[in-house]
């Protein structure tokens, strides 16, 4: 089945926030934000801006009837700065005007005086200054301190990974519309409608039921709209509340890039110990996470770094710690992978370094240490499948590692200015929110009396085709044509208290809730059909919109069945609730069973380096991926390709640059580059690992959003290997992204 939005996307008819027809009287908002990264606000003069024709109001913290607080996990972030600013781009005020351009003119007229304070942009410096978001977290297994003695080889090193701008094509935005009795409806481009609702209620000083959030779709999210869509939605609501007018705010790209957080940069130290036969016996890592100026989701991201710090490997003795370093950058936030890629990068660097130092192949160490069924992850859960080993073996069999490596070597011996590099990147990724309480969802399924079906869930459609999967579930359970089914907007008045669509779990959680609701409806309808057809006690089923009695078709078709059930006063609406079974996690011990299941896979990446110019191309990425039993291979392959490309972008050209004053330099698409069509790997092959699927995956089809992002990490190591084959004296530094600048400097560095 094709993405249900495909046709309207292609005709430009799909509606995003800025496309909603404007209600007359609509006002336009614009944030006035800090130009400095850390300062005391001495004085602000709004008078010139307020006097500009068409400016309605400028809202500040003083206009907040409720609480000036948007922090979720930790309440440490004001909506508007009060006396101090903590990052450049921090909102100070919200200009409301009759047009966007008037608001922009007004912004230039605001005068502000700061008294600058010390600016920290580097997590190591924050660590030294004891500037933290909260206490560090540590996961351990075995006995790390005594394990070193048993190691034949011990290596230490450092690995850095950079931030990443989400660059959803649709920028952040919201449109709030007041109605009677103080109620406000907010159209928001958010992955977390309940979070927007809750925080808006908190700031506006009203009950949650006064605030309705409605989301049709997002033009991309990637985690950037999980928590950080809230700010703008709350501001428009605040202005609507005060002025009783609709208020829209659709951020322009520069404002979006400047004011929003990104993927967390990490600076990490590792120590790894191996036995003579290359078993990793001990691994220790300290991750210095650049959290930015407020907590946002950093504590949850910290957790996932720790959960994935050993990637696909079984290591009996580990100790890994994340320090949440508070700096004067915009609060960093969720981004596809959610801390896991940062953790995986470090263990892969440690293995890479070990192999080079010992003089064996990286792949030998990787393969020897893959986690097997019933072996334990550092957090106490045991692998319940052999996916790591199976995907490695399947990739080796399908793509023939030996042959690929030999071809690369041959090419390198024959070419002077061009060098190829190759790497293998195994991936193991846990599925579920690591915060157990979030793993539940609801679906509201209405069958209308004409037989059409409308489904509301908490899932947000942002291109990943979760709505298509939900439609597939309903069509399959009810056994009717998908044409009869409509997936409604995501709306907090229809489905409440939702978890954000994140952690790759949107289809699993909301799909399972839909499945439950549809199963209940199916049961009621077949029971009714038995009575109606006077066939009680017989086996009644619905197949392809026809009622069957003991496997024989009756004359009763779907439309008639529904109509008659409705006349007989059968409930033909249903609310399904699903909570992932078996999962639990005890934070006091840092042990438990946090994941419903794991997704496994393997990617072989080949790159070609131009050693004159320091530029590179990605020849191929050959993947074996564990989809379970994919319920929609076209859509799932699209997720792999898209995530892979983002992962490659993260370790190659995507470089976030702040200056020492905490000002974002890569603040536009002209200075922050993401992959274009020419940069896509020439060849991407995706093989589905044979599997029976997992019972906790929707229709046995495993979650696919985040795991393949990590395949991109392989590109970093392939590039390093290519540099090494040109410059034998190159001492590899693990400092992602491998921009053309770093590559050229490495090619010619003789130190």
């Amino acid at each position: 089945m094709k993405n249900t939005d495909s046709i309207s996307h292609l005709q430009g008819k799909s509606i995003y926030i800025d496309d909603i027809p404007e209600i007359s009287g609509t006002l336009f908002g614009l944030v006035f934000d800090s130009t400095v990264a850390h300062a005391k606000i001495l004085n602000i003069d709004y008078s010139l801006a307020l006097n500009l024709d068409g400016v309605i109001d400028i809202l500040t913290f003083k206009d907040i009837p409720g609480r000036n607080q948007i922090g979720t996990i930790i309440e440490d972030e004001p909506l508007f700065a009060e006396d101090e600013v903590h990052f450049a781009g921090q909102p100070i005020a919200f200009i409301v005007a009759e047009s966007e351009i008037i608001a922009r003119k007004a912004r230039k007229l605001i005068k502000i005086e700061f008294e600058n304070k010390k600016i920290i942009t580097d997590p190591r410096e924050a660590f030294k200054e004891k500037s933290f978001i909260t206490n560090p977290r540590t996961f351990k297994i075995g006995h790390i301190d005594s394990a070193w003695e048993k190691c034949k080889y011990i290596f230490e090193g450092n690995a850095k990974s950079g931030g990443q701008e989400h660059l959803y094509l649709e920028t952040q935005g919201a449109y709030s519309v007041p109605s009677e009795k103080g109620n406000i409806k907010i159209y928001s481009s958010t992955q977390g409608p309940t979070s927007v609702q809750k925080i808006a209620a908190r700031v506006l000083g009203v009950s949650m039921h006064k605030i309705e959030i409605d989301v049709t779709r997002l033009g991309g999210g990637f985690g950037g709209k999980e928590d950080q869509a809230t700010t703008w939605a709350v501001m428009t609501a605040l202005a609507s509340q005060k002025h009783n007018r609709p208020v829209k705010y659709s951020l322009n790209r520069h404002d979006d890039m400047r004011m929003t957080g990104k993927r967390h940069p990490y600076d990490s130290d590792f120590k790894i110990g191996l036995s003579e036969d290359l078993k990793i016996l001990a691994y220790e890592a300290d991750f210095y996470q650049n959290s930015g100026a407020a907590a946002d989701l950093s504590t949850a991201i910290t957790e996932r770094t720790l959960f994935h710090a050993t990637n696909s490997y079984f290591i009996p003795n580990t100790r890994t710690t994340v320090y949440l370093c508070k700096t004067n950058l915009p609060p960093n936030t969720a981004f596809r992978g959610f801390g896991a890629p940062q953790g995986m990068f470090v263990i892969e660097a440690a293995i890479h370094k070990s192999a080079l130092e010992i003089g064996v192949s990286v792949e030998e160490i990787q393969k020897k240490n893959l986690i097997k069924i019933n072996e334990e992850f550092p957090y106490g859960q045991k692998a319940d499948e052999n996916g790591a080993v199976n995907s490695w073996n399947e990739a080796d069999k399908t793509y023939q590692f030996k042959k690929l490596f030999a071809e690369t070597e041959k090419f390198n011996s024959e070419n002077k200015y061009l060098k190829k590099g190759i790497s293998v990147m195994p991936v193991t990724f846990g599925i579920s929110f690591t915060n157990t309480m979030m793993n539940h969802a609801r679906a509201l399924v209405h069958i209308y009396q004409d037989g059409s079906v409308g489904i509301s869930t908490g899932a947000i459609e942002m291109g990943q085709a979760v709505n298509t999967k939900i439609m597939q579930v309903a069509a399959s359970v009810l056994n009717i044509s998908a044409e009869r089914i409509k997936i409604e907007t995501t709306n907090t008045t229809r489905v409440s208290n939702t978890s954000p669509t994140a952690a790759s779990s949107g289809a699993d959680l909301n799909g399972k809730a839909t499945e439950i609701a549809c199963e209940n409806l199916y049961k009621r309808l077949t029971e009714f059909a038995g009575k109606y057809l006077k066939s009680e006690g017989k086996n009644i089923s619905i197949k392809n919109e026809t009622v069957f009695i003991d496997e024989k078709p009756s004359d009763l078709k779907w439309e008639k069945l529904v109509e008659q059930a409705f006349f007989a006063r059968v409930a033909i609406s249903e609310n399904g609730h699903y909570a992932t079974p078996e999962i639990h996690f005890d934070k006091s011990k840092e042990k438990g069973h946090p994941f419903a299941y794991h997704v496994y896979g393997n990617a072989v990446t080949t790159v070609t380096l131009d050693c004159i110019r320091g530029t590179y191309e990605i020849d191929s990425v050959k993947i074996v991926h564990d989809f379970g039993k994919s319920m929609n291979p076209l859509i799932d392959n699209g997720q792999i390709e898209g995530a892979l490309m983002q992962g490659i972008g993260w370790v190659t050209m995507e470089e976030i640059a702040f200056n020492n004053e905490g000002k974002l330099l890569s603040n536009a698409l002209s200075t922050y580059k993401v992959p274009d069509i020419y940069f896509a790997p020439k060849n991407v092959e995706i093989k589905h690992l044979e599997s029976d699927g997992h019972k906790f995956a929707i229709m046995k089809s495993k979650a696919v959003g985040e795991p393949p992002f990590n395949y991109g990490i392989g590109t970093y190591f392939a590039i390093q290997n290519a540099i090494k084959s040109f410059n034998k004296n190159y001492k590899i530094i693990y400092d992602s992204p491998a921009t053309p600048e770093k590559v050229l400097m490495s090619l010619y560095n003789q130190e």
């Binding site: 996307h9 008819k13 991309g220 200015y417 530029t615 699209g638 580059k673």
Partner: protein, 457 residues
Amino acid sequence: MIEFILNNKLIKTKVGEGISLADFIRYNQNLKGTKIGCREGDCGACTVLSGELLNGKIYYKSITSCITPLKFAHGKHIVTIEGINKENLTEIQHHFHEHSATQCGFCTPGFVMSLTGFSINTKKTDFSQGINAVAGNICRCTGYKSIEKAIFDISEALKSKPETDEIAWLIKNNYLPEYFTEIPEKLKQIKPLENIEGKIVGGGTDLYVQNADGMSEKSVRFILPADKTDKIRIYENKIIIHSSTTVSEIINSEIIKNILPHLKKQLLLISSEQIRNTATIAGNFVNASPIGDITIIFLALNSKIKINSDNSSREIYLKDFYKGYKILDLKETEFIENLSFEIPENGFKFNFEKVSKRKYLDIASVNTAISLSINENIIKEIHVSGGGIAPIPMYFSKTSEFLKGKIINKEIVMSASEILLSEVSPISDVRGSSDYKKLLLKQLFLAHFIELFSIEI
């Protein structure tokens, strides 16, 4: 009054001629299929088609409407996604649908428009040209592989397109709606605009990135040639290129193809199809970016520019045009009329090198161009230029002087590279550290000789 045809509708508007075409389309005409993703021509979500009559025939090209002044549309046919939609999917849309080449959908109308432009324009379609058509379209969801597959099918299907009467064929084969046949006649009814007062704009592709708000309240003045079909011409021993010539017009010029056969490939490293379709050479010169690709190329061709004011005219070398960072030898009342360079002699060689974070649609970290004439292995004439390593687009006079009269070999090239580095003083910025830029300049200088003379370094 600005007058043009938007899709199938005649527009007559007194809205400010300096506002961006994208704003007019979305907020004045309420056509919301054209998306705005960056407002600097770097994402392609706002791509529309612009059709223009030349000698009675209509030519379409894709443009980024977010950095195009509304006045540009005057007398043209502007086509948005709404203007190509039919009841069922068009061929382009159909292939995207088949390959699931849309995910969040926000970039999708831009891709569809770029490829619709490709379907109209391209004479002999092949896959690589199809890819080139969307080099200015960013998708953050798909990873492009599904889009490549769709483009492959589209370029295959277009192979049966005839060389004449393309529009009729495209209508018949479900690429365009039927109203396209009536457009040329309708365009003929629109009179040219008086074009005297106002801020001089080339293509606007940088001006609108820097100051779209400011431009929205201004009048716009284009410097246009008497005959739009004669922008590039040969006069005596010179090639003369009118200031309003776009990069695409240079790429497609038969005159240029004959003299600089590799220039097309090199020019494709500059920005994107959409921007090359509107960005002009004079715009690049006066923008005075120390890293302007077009400027660097014409510096190495030892070009001259003719500068006019309303009552006088003078000619100077392009290399003398730059006095300091963004400081030009150009008075308020003056504008560039044309550029000229001498038709090279036999033994002429030219190369352009550019490295940026992303190979396409990116601003260079360093770029450099070289032109030289060789006679019996001796360099008779040579001009070397480079960008990103000084406050102005550099003409390397010492390096050029040194190499003149020399025989090309590795030692001479290495010595020249030392002189080259002595001429520059790069600063560290978002495009690279000073050390990187020096190393890169040297490497790209060497690359000229590897490319042109297969010298082993």
